[in-house]
């Protein structure tokens, strides 16, 4: 801009004589053009940036475009008007400096000067001719001698004689100090030779005028020329010089008219372009400054809407926009802290929920949660195990829907519907439950669930399978009974047996044959029944007080093979299937042998009365529960469904013989080994005892 101002200053003084800064003008113009190109480049890059902003629908693009257009209009219109009128004024002013009259006057004054000088030169020409005539027929040596005398007779300041080729023959000067004569140039000499004479005036080195007259000296051989130099009087010379200077200056000025117009127009154009470009660039800078905080705010709000509450906007502004950004930052800070608190609360709730889930999942009790519409909301692993149904798949199902989906749970759901619908207080109920051919006794406890505002929000059911407890109580009772029976009955049996034997021995000789037969039959019956009673009492005793278990590492497959080999001849079809790689386990082999023999014996008895009786013994390893499964199945008549639930209870036999303690003892031994035994009917007929023994090692 300074360069531009300086250029304008120089142009304003362009018509003046040499300025100290004239030499800088071209450099300044170049600097201005370079500056203009630089600004143009800046403007183009800014326009491209704005175009990209528009293309991408960037925030603030429209405001920027409006501001730039406004600045452009504000700068272009006034500067354009000023440029136009300044240009017109300059052109008119420059044109007004020149006038045809002045041209004519200047030309006339020059012509006048020439005429005035021409009169004088004509006179001087005549004088020179006379001098030359005096030198006719002279030799070169004579010329040298006579020139000095001739110069004294005239007004010539210098006389010189020279040859046709321009070689100086002789010379004389008014000033004796001047040794070198003022020789004519080649073209003058040529003119002189062509025209035999020449006269002209020319400026000398002292700003004055001299007249150069050259005349051919006649009758000389070779041809000689005389040149006379006359000094124009100083006053006339000054006047002529003044006219010449003025005319030359005016002529130069007139010649420079178009150049002046061009240069002024160029400088003004540069000023205009520079101003417009600078204003446009400034508009971009201003618009960016203005739009930057708005863009920041938009980006901030977008980030906020996307959930980025940590977004901070930076600003150093102290104006209203800076206040706005600071307010935005304060707002995001508050939102962020609130969100953090909410997150923490949510995390706590999730932790609590996870804790409850963990607790519930590890509870052996079943826990079910319902809403007010009795839709299942919560269940746990214990509930699934007890009810033997995956209730997790029934979440959001109502109790009625669960009953439809799982018909086995119909009685269970009906009970819950009845109790939860009728009462809003805690309730407790013992429920007999049949599932998968098992009878379970559940202890249910229902309680209403209240929200924080004390309103009823749902129900919770906690239940437990008390069947093992009842079973153990029953077993304990049976053990007590068996122990008492053994104790009370076993004692009188031996005297009875001994008495019967003594009666037979003593009375044998005293009675006749018929009476002896009756006696023998009676005493045998007594002894036989006493023996049977002893056997039963022993069984009861074993049930009540089993012998001490002696576990050791055994191979189930070997045990099965041993036992099966005992029955190979006795059973028509005994099929034994044992998995390879069956793991060893830690168990009492004697007690297990008792179990297996008992079960095989039962199966043998079951198929005794049918054709094609078959016993299948299979042993396999169940990897999922890390246990050995032993199945002993027969195709006998099977067990009635009504008895299948009580088959393992003491004295629950369907056979005519036996004490009814066999399966009870079997179950007791299996349970002592932490295993399970169940019975499943086999289709079309038969029963399958399934034992699962956990694989335990030392």
């Amino acid at each position: 801009m300074l360069s531009l101002l300086f250029s304008l200053y120089l142009m304003s003084h362009a018509t003046e004589s040499n300025s100290a800064f004239n030499g800088l003008f071209s450099a300044l113009i170049l600097i201005n053009i370079a500056g203009t190109i630089f600004l143009l480049g800046l403007l183009i890059s800014n326009i491209r940036w704005l175009w990209q902003q528009f293309s991408t629908q960037a925030v603030g693009a429209r405001i920027t475009a409006r501001i730039v257009l406004l600045f452009f209009a504000i700068s272009v219109i006034p500067t354009g008007i000023v440029f136009y009128f300044s240009s017109q004024l300059l052109h008119q002013s420059i044109d007004s400096w020149f006038d045809a009259k002045i041209d004519t006057a200047m030309q006339s004054s020059l012509t006048l000067s020439r005429r005035s000088l021409d009169n004088r030169t004509l006179f001087l020409m005549k004088e020179t001719r006379q001098l030359a005539s005096q030198l006719e027929n002279e030799t070169d040596i004579f010329l040298s001698l006579t020139l000095a005398g001739l110069r004294a007779q005239t007004n010539a300041s210098e006389l010189t004689a020279f040859s046709k080729q321009g070689r100086i023959i002789a010379t004389t000067n008014l000033d004796p100090g001047v040794l070198i004569p003022n020789t004519p140039d080649s073209s003058t000499l040529l003119l002189a030779k062509q025209n035999h004479e020449f006269i002209g005036f020319e400026p000398n080195s002292n700003k004055g005028l001299i007249v150069r007259a050259i005349v051919e000296i006649r009758n000389t051989n070779p041809k000689r020329y005389l040149q006379a130099i006359y000094t124009v009087p100083e006053d006339i010379g000054e006047l002529a010089g003044s006219v010449e200077d003025a005319y030359t200056a005016y002529q130069e000025f007139s010649y420079l008219r178009n150049s002046l117009k061009f240069s002024f127009t160029l400088t003004l154009s540069l000023a205009l372009i520079f101003s417009v470009l600078a204003a446009s660039w400034a508009a971009f800078v201003f618009a960016r400054e203005l739009v930057a905080p708005i863009r920041q705010l938009v980006e901030g709000t977008q980030a906020l809407s996307e959930g980025n509450y940590e977004k901070k906007l930076k600003t150093n502004r102290q104006d209203e926009l800076g206040f706005l950004i600071n307010s935005f930052n304060a707002m995001t800070l508050r939102i962020s802290s609130s969100r953090t608190e909410a997150n923490n609360a949510q995390r706590d709730a999730e932790d609590q929920h996870a804790y409850l889930e963990t607790v519930l999942s590890h509870l052996s009790n079943g826990v079910l949660g319902f809403d007010l519409a009795l839709r299942l909301k919560t269940t746990n692993y214990g509930a699934d195990q007890i009810l033997e149904h995956p209730l997790t798949a029934c979440i959001e199902f109502s109790l009625a829907e669960i009953a439809i989906k799982c018909p086995e749970l119909d009685a269970f759901t009906s009970l819950l519907i009845g109790n939860f619908s009728a009462k809003e207080t805690e309730w407790q109920h013992e429920f007999m439950f049949h599932i998968n051919h098992q009878k379970k006794t559940l202890l249910l406890k229902g309680t209403p669930l209240y929200a924080a505002d004390k309103t009823l929000s749902g129900y919770v059911l906690i239940f437990d399978d008390v069947t093992p407890i009842i079973q153990s109580q029953r077993n304990a009772a049976w053990s007590e009974v068996a122990q008492r029976l053994a104790h009370e009955i076993k004692n009188p049996l031996t005297p009875i047996q001994l008495s019967a034997e003594r009666l037979q021995r003593k009375l044998h000789s005293q009675l006749d044959d018929d009476a002896n037969k009756v006696l023998k039959k009676s005493t045998d019956t007594i002894v036989q029944q006493v023996s049977a009673m002893k056997s039963m009492v022993n069984d009861f005793s074993n049930f009540a007080r089993p012998p001490q278990s002696k576990p050791q590492v055994i191979s189930i497959s070997h045990l099965i093979d041993d036992i099966a080999s005992l029955y190979q001849g006795q059973v028509q079809h005994l099929i034994v299937t044992i998995d390879d790689h069956l793991p060893s386990t830690y168990a009492d082999p004697i007690r297990l042998r008792q179990v297996l023999i008992n079960l095989i014996k039962n199966a043998q008895e079951a198929i005794a009365d049918i054709n094609n009786g078959e016993i299948n013994i299979s042993v396999s390893y169940k990897k999922d529960c890390d246990s050995i499964e032993i199945c002993i199945a027969d195709n006998g008549p099977g067990v009635d469904n009504s008895n299948i639930e009580r088959i393992f209870e003491p004295y629950a036999t369907t056979k005519d013989k036996g004490t009814g303690l066999g399966l009870a003892i079997v179950k007791k031994i299996i349970e002592e080994h932490s295993g399970t035994i169940i019975i499943k009917p086999v289709k079309p007929q038969g029963a399958n005892f399934i034992i699962q023994l956990p694989v335990t090692t030392l």
Partner: protein, 197 residues
């Protein structure tokens, strides 16, 4: 240059040649503007005499129409003749030991209708009745003593000579257009020759 002219006048042997050149110039003066405007350094030598180098050169000046028009309209034309002594280096750029500039001015005297050639260095001027004679005199450099150059350099040196119209010496309003007008671009080739020690 004036010395040169004097020497030419004194030199009898050069006269036929000089007259021939002048004649040729005069014949071609009308068609001068039709020639391609240019400045050409025809010959240049530096001779060592009396412990001083003397520059002799012949430069052919051919002015453009624009330059002639400006000259006839009172604009003085400035020409510079630049002489450089250059050390040629194989791996580096050439080193300039001496840079000398000889400015000359050509102007037209309207009243006397003659052309003035001024040696601004020595403040000498000479008048010519024709432009061709003035340009011929302008282009003939004869025995110009160059005292600043010594011959004690051990390295290989070249001398270069170039002549050009100094646009910066034109009147200020003319310069912008002169820089972009071909007719004002009058600049000779660089004439380079080895400097004899």
């Amino acid at each position: 240059m004036l010395n040169k002219n004097l020497n030419q006048l004194h030199s009898y042997h050069c006269i036929p040649c000089f007259v021939l050149i002048i004649s040729l110039l005069c014949v071609s003066v009308n068609s001068f503007a039709d020639e391609n405007p240019s400045i050409t350094v025809k010959t240049a030598t530096l001779s060592f005499q009396d412990k001083t180098y003397l520059l002799n050169a012949h430069i052919n000046y051919s002015l453009s129409d624009e330059a002639i028009e400006a000259l006839h309209n009172g604009v003085s034309l400035s020409f510079n003749v630049d002489l450089s002594i250059i050390e040629s280096r194989r791996w580096l750029w050439n080193k300039h030991h001496n840079n000398l500039s000889f400015p000359y001015q050509l102007r037209y005297h309207t009243l006397a209708e003659i052309y003035q050639v001024s040696d601004t260095t020595n403040n000498l001027q000479h008048n010519f009745s024709s432009l061709s004679a003035a340009l011929n005199a302008l282009g003939t450099l004869s025995d110009i003593p160059i005292h600043s150059i010594t011959n004690d350099n051990n390295f290989k040196t070249n001398a270069s000579l170039k002549a050009y119209l100094n646009i910066e010496a034109l009147p200020l309003p003319m310069r912008p257009l002169a820089y972009v007008t071909r007719g004002w671009y009058l600049r000779s080739n660089t004439f380079e020759w080895p400097l004899a020690h």
